[in-house]
């Protein structure tokens, strides 16, 4: 290891007079004022930087907020068909909960009705025909507004069942019947139904987007036609038509056999 020190046998000499001459308080003060000035300039720059960052952040926040509110209106104006992914997201959470609840309820059924057949065969119907397990329904929401809103920040309110989603799920649970003529096939799966909630809350344009078979389609359409009333979507307080897509889950219950 190299030594960090240089040893001296004698103190390096300097006279007291020389030391006195080295004193320069005025020079020190000059340096001090200069350093202070630099410090304050750096301080000012920091303040300016912080202020500008703050303003920028506020501006970005404002722009983001504006965009966020505008988004539904934009979708309504430009999308003529169906909802896109973002619209589905919040509804799926609700749907998942309902699905979980329902799955739990019908666990026994699931265990006994796992076999699936593709062929259409007629199977004697069981004596006791209970309604097929219904699938609580996930409901996905999607809306499409027909009104042309010119307001810069339209406020959009989604369509919702008059009696609330819980009631709607209960209805689906109770009313969804597993089609009798499909019992022998033991098909279980999801039918995707699309429909429009018109300005007055009337359900129309019911379409099957993903089919499990004719009997399932009929059942699904019947279910949707008779479901509880909906409160139409509103854009800036005006009622607008909106499109919805709801998956109906058909699962056979052992009592159906």
């Amino acid at each position: 290891m190299k030594s960090k020190y240089q040893l001296l046998d004698l103190k390096p000499f300097i006279s007291s007079e020389e030391i006195e001459e080295m004193k320069d308080f005025d020079g020190l003060m000059e340096h001090f004022r200069q350093a202070k000035k630099e410090q304050s300039e750096v301080g000012k720059q920091k303040i300016i930087f912080m202020l500008s960052s703050g303003i920028l952040a506020a501006l970005m926040g404002f722009l983001y907020h504006t965009e966020f509110i505008k988004e539904p209106a934009t979708t309504a104006e430009h999308s003529d068909s169906f909802m896109d992914a973002p619209w589905n997201a919040p509804c799926e959470v609700v749907a998942d909960t309902a699905v979980a609840r329902h799955q739990n309820y019908h666990r026994n059924v699931d265990e006994k009705s796992s076999a699936r057949s593709i062929e259409n065969r007629i199977v004697p119907t069981p004596k006791d025909k209970e309604p097929a397990p219904t699938r609580p329904l996930t409901n996905e929401e999607r809306t499409l507004k027909t009104t042309e809103e010119k307001a810069s920040k339209p406020i959009y309110q989604e369509a919702e069942p008059v009696l609330g989603y819980t009631h709607l799920y209960e209805y689906f649970n109770d009313a969804l019947r597993y089609p009798k003529d499909a019992v022998h096939d033991s098909i279980s799966g999801t039918t995707l139904v699309a429909f429009t909630i018109a300005e007055k809350g009337v359900i129309k344009d019911i379409r099957i987007e993903s089919s499990l078979g004719k009997s399932f389609d009929r059942e699904a359409i019947l279910l949707i036609q008779n479901m509880p009333r909906w409160r139409p979507a509103k854009l800036d307080g005006n009622e607008v038509a909106s499109k919805m897509r709801i998956p109906l889950h058909f699962q056979i219950k052992h009592t159906d056999k």
């Binding site: 960090k4 020190y5 390096p12 030391i19 004193k23 308080f25 020190l28 410090q39």
Partner: protein, 189 residues
Amino acid sequence: MKTSILYQKDRLETPETELIEEAKKDPEKFEPIYDRYFKQLFQFVFHRVADKSLAADLTSQVFLKALLNLKTYEHKGLPFSSWLYRIAINECNLHHRKSRTKQYVVLDDHNYNLMSEEMDLEREEDRILLKKAISKLSTKEMEVIELRFFESLSFKEVSKILSITENNAKVKLYRALDKLKKLMNAYEK
């Protein structure tokens, strides 16, 4: 000699804290403190760098930093010089690191006698062995020896300058001396 010590003591006992408080409000009032400690600090730095103009620059830097940070200084019963020493040590170390130069250590008769007394060194050849051993000390070990022996500061002051406790300062010093003794014994063999 006695009178000069007394005179110095009298000067130290003048209300230094008041001067500092005044200087905090008006930097121009820092002059009496500058006058009081300039020589002491200059010599401390000069012995480490052995260059007059460099020592003058570094000392000036020490006082500038002290002035710029004067508001953070709190009087804790020790002379203001303790604070200045701390800044000076940092400045010197910074200089040595930057310029990659060696620090000078003065082991003149005065300093050697102080150390030999503490370490019970009596033989003539011990001085050569001690010089050899000192060159192996770390910066921290050297600092505590310099402050305690060469600057004749109290353990209390040494501890404040090095930001350690008084006991730790003692421990560090005696460990450094032990290390020196062991190194000297090793060199002797």
